[in-house]
Subunit: 212 residues, 2 copies
Protein backbone atom coordinates (compact mmCIF):
# COMPACT_ATOMS: atom_id res chain seq x y z
CA UNK A 1 0.00 0.00 0.00
CA UNK A 2 2.90 2.24 0.64
CA UNK A 3 4.46 1.28 -2.66
CA UNK A 4 5.67 3.75 -5.18
CA UNK A 5 4.10 3.11 -8.52
CA UNK A 6 6.22 1.65 -11.22
CA UNK A 7 4.13 2.05 -14.35
CA UNK A 8 5.02 5.01 -16.51
CA UNK A 9 6.46 7.25 -13.83
CA UNK A 10 4.93 10.63 -14.47
CA UNK A 11 7.56 12.11 -12.19
CA UNK A 12 11.00 10.67 -11.67
CA UNK A 13 11.08 7.98 -9.08
CA UNK A 14 13.75 9.63 -7.03
CA UNK A 15 11.60 12.70 -6.70
CA UNK A 16 8.76 10.58 -5.37
CA UNK A 17 11.17 9.08 -2.92
CA UNK A 18 12.21 12.53 -1.79
CA UNK A 19 8.57 13.31 -1.08
CA UNK A 20 8.16 10.05 0.80
CA UNK A 21 11.20 10.84 2.89
CA UNK A 22 9.85 14.27 3.65
CA UNK A 23 6.61 12.78 4.91
CA UNK A 24 8.55 10.22 6.90
CA UNK A 25 10.69 12.89 8.52
CA UNK A 26 7.64 14.96 9.30
CA UNK A 27 5.47 12.18 10.70
CA UNK A 28 8.28 10.80 12.80
CA UNK A 29 9.09 14.27 14.03
CA UNK A 30 12.75 13.93 13.17
CA UNK A 31 14.88 16.96 13.85
CA UNK A 32 18.40 18.08 13.14
CA UNK A 33 20.90 15.45 14.20
CA UNK A 34 18.51 12.54 14.14
CA UNK A 35 19.35 9.47 12.15
CA UNK A 36 17.18 8.24 9.33
CA UNK A 37 16.85 4.57 8.33
CA UNK A 38 19.68 2.99 6.37
CA UNK A 39 19.61 2.88 2.60
CA UNK A 40 18.94 -0.84 2.64
CA UNK A 41 16.05 -0.52 5.03
CA UNK A 42 14.53 2.34 3.04
CA UNK A 43 14.91 0.24 -0.06
CA UNK A 44 12.86 -2.52 1.53
CA UNK A 45 10.27 -0.29 3.15
CA UNK A 46 9.54 1.66 -0.01
CA UNK A 47 9.97 -1.33 -2.32
CA UNK A 48 12.44 0.41 -4.59
CA UNK A 49 16.01 -0.32 -5.52
CA UNK A 50 18.79 0.97 -3.37
CA UNK A 51 20.23 2.94 -6.28
CA UNK A 52 17.00 4.93 -6.52
CA UNK A 53 17.13 5.58 -2.80
CA UNK A 54 20.66 6.84 -3.25
CA UNK A 55 19.71 9.23 -6.03
CA UNK A 56 17.06 10.70 -3.76
CA UNK A 57 19.54 10.99 -0.92
CA UNK A 58 22.01 12.73 -3.23
CA UNK A 59 19.34 15.30 -3.97
CA UNK A 60 18.67 15.88 -0.29
CA UNK A 61 22.38 16.05 0.38
CA UNK A 62 22.81 18.72 -2.29
CA UNK A 63 20.01 20.67 -0.71
CA UNK A 64 21.85 20.41 2.58
CA UNK A 65 18.95 18.62 4.22
CA UNK A 66 20.87 15.51 5.18
CA UNK A 67 24.42 14.49 5.85
CA UNK A 68 25.86 11.07 5.13
CA UNK A 69 28.72 9.56 7.06
CA UNK A 70 30.26 6.36 5.82
CA UNK A 71 30.03 3.56 8.31
CA UNK A 72 27.64 5.50 10.47
CA UNK A 73 24.54 6.44 8.59
CA UNK A 74 22.50 9.32 7.25
CA UNK A 75 21.44 12.18 9.46
CA UNK A 76 19.05 15.06 9.35
CA UNK A 77 20.78 18.36 9.04
CA UNK A 78 19.78 21.94 9.53
CA UNK A 79 19.29 22.90 5.95
CA UNK A 80 21.51 25.69 4.92
CA UNK A 81 23.87 26.74 2.22
CA UNK A 82 26.87 24.83 1.00
CA UNK A 83 27.34 22.32 -1.80
CA UNK A 84 24.63 23.76 -3.89
CA UNK A 85 26.02 27.26 -3.87
CA UNK A 86 29.55 26.04 -4.28
CA UNK A 87 28.58 23.80 -7.18
CA UNK A 88 26.64 26.47 -8.99
CA UNK A 89 29.52 28.79 -8.33
CA UNK A 90 32.05 26.56 -10.00
CA UNK A 91 29.80 26.54 -13.00
CA UNK A 92 28.50 29.71 -14.45
CA UNK A 93 29.17 32.32 -11.84
CA UNK A 94 31.94 33.61 -14.10
CA UNK A 95 29.39 35.41 -16.19
CA UNK A 96 30.07 39.12 -15.52
CA UNK A 97 26.43 40.03 -16.02
CA UNK A 98 25.49 37.63 -13.25
CA UNK A 99 28.00 39.24 -10.95
CA UNK A 100 26.62 42.65 -11.68
CA UNK A 101 23.08 41.48 -11.02
CA UNK A 102 24.28 39.92 -7.82
CA UNK A 103 25.46 43.18 -6.31
CA UNK A 104 22.34 45.02 -7.35
CA UNK A 105 20.01 42.35 -6.05
CA UNK A 106 21.84 42.24 -2.77
CA UNK A 107 21.36 45.98 -2.35
CA UNK A 108 17.67 45.82 -3.08
CA UNK A 109 17.22 43.00 -0.63
CA UNK A 110 19.11 44.87 2.03
CA UNK A 111 16.96 47.88 1.40
CA UNK A 112 13.90 45.73 1.88
CA UNK A 113 15.28 44.33 5.11
CA UNK A 114 16.05 47.77 6.40
CA UNK A 115 12.44 48.81 5.84
CA UNK A 116 11.12 45.74 7.53
CA UNK A 117 13.44 46.09 10.49
CA UNK A 118 12.54 49.72 10.96
CA UNK A 119 8.85 48.94 10.88
CA UNK A 120 8.85 45.86 13.04
CA UNK A 121 11.93 45.56 15.24
CA UNK A 122 11.54 46.49 18.89
CA UNK A 123 13.40 49.29 20.61
CA UNK A 124 15.29 46.72 22.63
CA UNK A 125 16.44 44.79 19.61
CA UNK A 126 17.72 47.90 17.92
CA UNK A 127 19.50 49.09 21.06
CA UNK A 128 21.09 45.69 21.40
CA UNK A 129 22.19 45.92 17.79
CA UNK A 130 23.63 49.36 18.42
CA UNK A 131 25.58 48.11 21.41
CA UNK A 132 26.97 45.25 19.41
CA UNK A 133 28.10 47.61 16.67
CA UNK A 134 29.82 49.99 19.07
CA UNK A 135 31.58 47.43 21.19
CA UNK A 136 33.71 45.70 18.60
CA UNK A 137 35.07 45.64 15.12
CA UNK A 138 32.96 44.00 12.44
CA UNK A 139 32.92 43.41 8.72
CA UNK A 140 30.23 44.61 6.39
CA UNK A 141 29.17 41.01 6.09
CA UNK A 142 28.85 40.71 9.85
CA UNK A 143 26.85 43.88 10.09
CA UNK A 144 24.24 42.95 7.54
CA UNK A 145 24.05 39.40 8.73
CA UNK A 146 23.04 40.78 12.10
CA UNK A 147 20.69 43.29 10.56
CA UNK A 148 18.99 40.74 8.35
CA UNK A 149 18.57 38.47 11.36
CA UNK A 150 16.61 41.24 13.07
CA UNK A 151 14.21 41.03 10.18
CA UNK A 152 10.88 39.53 11.11
CA UNK A 153 10.43 38.09 7.65
CA UNK A 154 12.22 34.78 7.67
CA UNK A 155 11.75 34.18 3.97
CA UNK A 156 13.33 37.48 3.09
CA UNK A 157 16.22 36.68 5.39
CA UNK A 158 16.76 33.34 3.70
CA UNK A 159 16.77 34.88 0.26
CA UNK A 160 19.33 37.43 1.38
CA UNK A 161 21.47 34.71 2.90
CA UNK A 162 21.51 32.77 -0.33
CA UNK A 163 22.25 35.79 -2.46
CA UNK A 164 24.94 36.82 -0.02
CA UNK A 165 26.49 33.37 -0.30
CA UNK A 166 26.61 33.77 -4.03
CA UNK A 167 28.16 37.19 -3.68
CA UNK A 168 30.75 35.81 -1.31
CA UNK A 169 31.51 32.98 -3.72
CA UNK A 170 32.01 35.56 -6.43
CA UNK A 171 34.45 37.40 -4.20
CA UNK A 172 32.18 40.37 -3.88
CA UNK A 173 32.82 41.50 -0.38
CA UNK A 174 32.01 44.96 0.80
CA UNK A 175 34.58 46.38 3.10
CA UNK A 176 33.54 48.11 6.25
CA UNK A 177 35.50 51.29 6.11
CA UNK A 178 34.03 53.91 8.35
CA UNK A 179 32.44 52.52 11.45
CA UNK A 180 30.83 55.86 12.12
CA UNK A 181 28.69 55.47 9.05
CA UNK A 182 27.32 52.20 10.34
CA UNK A 183 26.69 53.64 13.80
CA UNK A 184 24.89 56.64 12.43
CA UNK A 185 22.90 54.31 10.23
CA UNK A 186 21.73 52.34 13.25
CA UNK A 187 20.74 55.57 14.95
CA UNK A 188 18.59 56.48 11.96
CA UNK A 189 16.88 53.14 12.26
CA UNK A 190 16.23 53.68 15.92
CA UNK A 191 14.65 56.99 15.04
CA UNK A 192 12.47 55.02 12.62
CA UNK A 193 13.46 57.36 9.88
CA UNK A 194 13.04 55.06 6.92
CA UNK A 195 13.82 57.49 4.13
CA UNK A 196 16.98 58.87 5.67
CA UNK A 197 18.16 55.45 6.73
CA UNK A 198 17.88 54.04 3.23
CA UNK A 199 19.35 57.14 1.73
CA UNK A 200 22.25 56.91 4.14
CA UNK A 201 22.67 53.25 3.33
CA UNK A 202 22.86 53.84 -0.39
CA UNK A 203 25.04 56.94 -0.21
CA UNK A 204 27.41 56.29 2.64
CA UNK A 205 27.52 52.54 3.02
CA UNK A 206 27.11 51.33 -0.51
CA UNK A 207 28.42 54.50 -2.11
CA UNK A 208 25.75 54.49 -4.74
CA UNK A 209 24.22 57.43 -6.48
CA UNK A 210 20.73 57.88 -5.20
CA UNK A 211 18.87 57.66 -8.47
CA UNK A 212 18.89 53.98 -9.20
Amino acid sequence: MNDLKKSTPSTKLYLEIVEKLRQMIESDGLVSGDKIPSERELSERLHVGRSSIREALRALELLGLIETRRGEGTFIRDYQDHNLIQLLGTFFLQDPKVKQDLAETKEYLETNCIQIVISSATEQELQHFLNWATEQAFSDDDFFTKLVALNSNYLMARIWTIVNSYARAANQVNEAIEYDSYIRFVHLMIERNTNQAISHYLKNIRKISNDE
Copy 2:
Protein backbone atom coordinates in the same frame (compact mmCIF):
# COMPACT_ATOMS: atom_id res chain seq x y z
CA MET B 1 45.50 9.18 -16.75
CA ASN B 2 42.08 10.66 -16.90
CA ASP B 3 40.96 8.29 -14.19
CA LEU B 4 39.28 9.39 -11.04
CA LYS B 5 41.13 8.11 -8.06
CA LYS B 6 39.58 5.35 -6.07
CA SER B 7 41.62 5.25 -2.91
CA THR B 8 40.16 7.06 0.07
CA PRO B 9 37.99 9.52 -1.77
CA SER B 10 38.64 12.81 -0.02
CA THR B 11 35.63 14.21 -1.79
CA LYS B 12 32.65 12.20 -2.88
CA LEU B 13 33.14 10.56 -6.21
CA TYR B 14 30.03 12.02 -7.72
CA LEU B 15 31.27 15.49 -6.95
CA GLU B 16 34.52 14.75 -8.76
CA ILE B 17 32.48 13.53 -11.69
CA VAL B 18 30.50 16.76 -11.64
CA GLU B 19 33.77 18.66 -11.90
CA LYS B 20 34.95 16.41 -14.74
CA LEU B 21 31.71 17.03 -16.57
CA ARG B 22 32.06 20.74 -16.09
CA GLN B 23 35.52 20.65 -17.63
CA MET B 24 34.23 18.49 -20.44
CA ILE B 25 31.38 20.85 -21.18
CA GLU B 26 33.70 23.82 -21.08
CA SER B 27 36.49 22.35 -23.20
CA ASP B 28 34.06 21.05 -25.79
CA GLY B 29 32.28 24.37 -25.86
CA LEU B 30 28.91 22.79 -25.35
CA VAL B 31 26.00 25.19 -25.10
CA SER B 32 22.36 25.03 -24.24
CA GLY B 33 20.59 22.32 -26.19
CA ASP B 34 23.70 20.31 -26.98
CA LYS B 35 23.80 16.64 -26.14
CA ILE B 36 26.33 15.16 -23.80
CA PRO B 37 27.65 11.60 -24.04
CA SER B 38 25.43 8.79 -22.83
CA GLU B 39 25.70 7.50 -19.31
CA ARG B 40 27.32 4.30 -20.51
CA GLU B 41 29.92 6.13 -22.55
CA LEU B 42 30.73 8.48 -19.67
CA SER B 43 31.03 5.47 -17.43
CA GLU B 44 33.67 4.00 -19.74
CA ARG B 45 35.52 7.22 -20.44
CA LEU B 46 35.86 8.15 -16.77
CA HIS B 47 36.31 4.56 -15.59
CA VAL B 48 33.58 4.78 -13.00
CA GLY B 49 30.37 2.88 -12.51
CA ARG B 50 27.26 4.02 -14.24
CA SER B 51 25.46 4.50 -10.95
CA SER B 52 28.07 7.04 -9.92
CA ILE B 53 27.63 8.84 -13.21
CA ARG B 54 23.94 8.91 -12.54
CA GLU B 55 24.37 10.41 -9.08
CA ALA B 56 26.42 13.19 -10.62
CA LEU B 57 23.82 13.73 -13.31
CA ARG B 58 21.10 13.93 -10.67
CA ALA B 59 23.04 16.72 -9.02
CA LEU B 60 23.36 18.60 -12.28
CA GLU B 61 19.72 18.01 -13.00
CA LEU B 62 18.77 19.45 -9.63
CA LEU B 63 20.86 22.48 -10.40
CA GLY B 64 18.97 22.84 -13.64
CA LEU B 65 22.13 22.50 -15.68
CA ILE B 66 21.07 19.46 -17.66
CA GLU B 67 17.89 17.82 -18.79
CA THR B 68 17.42 14.11 -19.30
CA ARG B 69 14.98 12.63 -21.75
CA ARG B 70 14.38 8.91 -21.68
CA GLY B 71 15.20 7.25 -24.94
CA GLU B 72 16.93 10.34 -26.25
CA GLY B 73 19.75 11.37 -24.02
CA THR B 74 21.02 14.08 -21.72
CA PHE B 75 21.19 17.67 -22.83
CA ILE B 76 22.72 20.89 -21.67
CA ARG B 77 20.17 23.31 -20.39
CA ASP B 78 20.11 27.01 -19.79
CA TYR B 79 20.38 27.19 -16.07
CA GLN B 80 17.06 28.56 -14.99
CA ASP B 81 14.27 27.73 -12.68
CA HIS B 82 15.37 24.40 -11.30
CA ASN B 83 13.14 21.94 -9.60
CA LEU B 84 15.64 22.39 -6.82
CA ILE B 85 13.59 25.29 -5.65
CA GLN B 86 10.45 23.28 -6.01
CA LEU B 87 11.98 20.57 -3.86
CA LEU B 88 13.07 22.98 -1.20
CA GLY B 89 9.62 24.44 -1.37
CA THR B 90 7.91 21.19 -0.53
CA PHE B 91 10.09 21.10 2.51
CA PHE B 92 9.90 24.46 4.12
CA LEU B 93 6.56 25.59 2.78
CA GLN B 94 5.10 23.62 5.68
CA ASP B 95 6.02 26.37 8.06
CA PRO B 96 2.95 28.62 8.46
CA LYS B 97 5.11 31.60 9.28
CA VAL B 98 6.74 31.27 5.88
CA LYS B 99 3.39 31.40 4.17
CA GLN B 100 2.67 34.54 6.06
CA ASP B 101 5.90 36.08 4.87
CA LEU B 102 5.28 35.14 1.28
CA ALA B 103 2.93 37.95 0.40
CA GLU B 104 5.16 40.55 2.00
CA THR B 105 8.27 39.30 0.30
CA LYS B 106 6.51 39.16 -3.02
CA GLU B 107 5.46 42.76 -2.65
CA TYR B 108 8.95 43.91 -1.81
CA LEU B 109 10.37 42.07 -4.78
CA GLU B 110 7.77 43.54 -7.07
CA THR B 111 8.60 46.97 -5.75
CA ASN B 112 12.23 46.30 -6.55
CA CYS B 113 11.37 45.16 -10.05
CA ILE B 114 9.25 48.21 -10.63
CA GLN B 115 12.17 50.43 -9.72
CA ILE B 116 14.53 48.55 -11.97
CA VAL B 117 12.13 48.54 -14.88
CA ILE B 118 11.49 52.25 -14.58
CA SER B 119 15.17 53.01 -14.52
CA SER B 120 16.32 50.67 -17.26
CA ALA B 121 13.51 49.62 -19.59
CA THR B 122 13.33 51.33 -22.96
CA GLU B 123 10.44 53.44 -24.14
CA GLN B 124 9.65 50.79 -26.72
CA GLU B 125 9.49 47.99 -24.18
CA LEU B 126 7.14 49.94 -21.96
CA GLN B 127 4.90 50.91 -24.87
CA HIS B 128 4.80 47.31 -25.95
CA PHE B 129 3.84 46.37 -22.42
CA LEU B 130 1.11 48.99 -22.40
CA ASN B 131 -0.30 47.70 -25.66
CA TRP B 132 -0.37 44.17 -24.33
CA ALA B 133 -2.21 45.32 -21.22
CA THR B 134 -4.84 47.24 -23.16
CA GLU B 135 -5.50 44.66 -25.82
CA GLN B 136 -6.67 41.76 -23.71
CA ALA B 137 -7.74 40.46 -20.36
CA PHE B 138 -5.03 39.31 -17.99
CA SER B 139 -4.60 38.08 -14.46
CA ASP B 140 -2.50 39.77 -11.83
CA ASP B 141 -0.09 36.90 -12.22
CA ASP B 142 0.16 37.50 -15.97
CA PHE B 143 0.71 41.18 -15.47
CA PHE B 144 3.59 40.88 -13.07
CA THR B 145 5.14 38.00 -14.94
CA LYS B 146 5.35 40.33 -17.91
CA LEU B 147 6.59 43.19 -15.82
CA VAL B 148 9.27 41.16 -14.12
CA ALA B 149 10.41 39.88 -17.48
CA LEU B 150 11.06 43.48 -18.50
CA ASN B 151 13.48 43.65 -15.63
CA SER B 152 17.10 43.83 -16.70
CA ASN B 153 18.23 41.99 -13.60
CA TYR B 154 17.88 38.32 -14.37
CA LEU B 155 18.69 37.20 -10.85
CA MET B 156 15.97 39.39 -9.39
CA ALA B 157 13.54 38.03 -11.94
CA ARG B 158 14.43 34.50 -10.95
CA ILE B 159 13.91 35.17 -7.28
CA TRP B 160 10.54 36.71 -7.97
CA THR B 161 9.55 33.76 -10.11
CA ILE B 162 10.45 31.41 -7.32
CA VAL B 163 8.63 33.36 -4.65
CA ASN B 164 5.66 33.72 -6.94
CA SER B 165 5.50 29.99 -7.51
CA TYR B 166 5.55 29.55 -3.76
CA ALA B 167 2.72 31.98 -3.39
CA ARG B 168 0.83 30.18 -6.09
CA ALA B 169 1.41 26.87 -4.37
CA ALA B 170 0.08 28.41 -1.18
CA ASN B 171 -3.00 29.57 -3.04
CA GLN B 172 -2.11 33.17 -2.58
CA VAL B 173 -3.29 34.62 -5.85
CA ASN B 174 -4.00 38.28 -6.31
CA GLU B 175 -7.03 38.98 -8.39
CA ALA B 176 -6.93 41.58 -11.07
CA ILE B 177 -9.97 43.61 -10.35
CA GLU B 178 -9.78 46.98 -12.00
CA TYR B 179 -7.91 46.94 -15.26
CA ASP B 180 -7.79 50.72 -15.22
CA SER B 181 -5.51 50.60 -12.20
CA TYR B 182 -3.03 48.49 -14.07
CA ILE B 183 -3.18 50.68 -17.14
CA ARG B 184 -2.67 53.83 -15.12
CA PHE B 185 0.19 52.11 -13.38
CA VAL B 186 1.92 51.40 -16.68
CA HIS B 187 1.48 55.02 -17.66
CA LEU B 188 3.21 56.10 -14.46
CA MET B 189 6.10 53.85 -15.34
CA ILE B 190 6.31 55.30 -18.82
CA GLU B 191 6.48 58.73 -17.22
CA ARG B 192 9.38 57.36 -15.14
CA ASN B 193 7.64 58.52 -12.03
CA THR B 194 9.07 56.03 -9.58
CA ASN B 195 7.51 57.35 -6.40
CA GLN B 196 4.01 57.64 -7.75
CA ALA B 197 4.23 54.32 -9.52
CA ILE B 198 5.21 52.48 -6.38
CA SER B 199 2.68 54.38 -4.33
CA HIS B 200 0.01 53.51 -6.86
CA TYR B 201 1.12 49.90 -6.82
CA LEU B 202 0.85 49.62 -3.05
CA LYS B 203 -2.37 51.55 -2.69
CA ASN B 204 -4.41 50.61 -5.72
CA ILE B 205 -3.06 47.29 -6.83
CA ARG B 206 -2.04 45.68 -3.58
CA LYS B 207 -4.46 47.68 -1.42
CA ILE B 208 -1.87 48.18 1.25
CA SER B 209 -1.54 51.09 3.59
CA ASN B 210 1.40 53.16 2.53
CA ASP B 211 3.36 53.12 5.75
CA GLU B 212 4.93 49.66 5.76
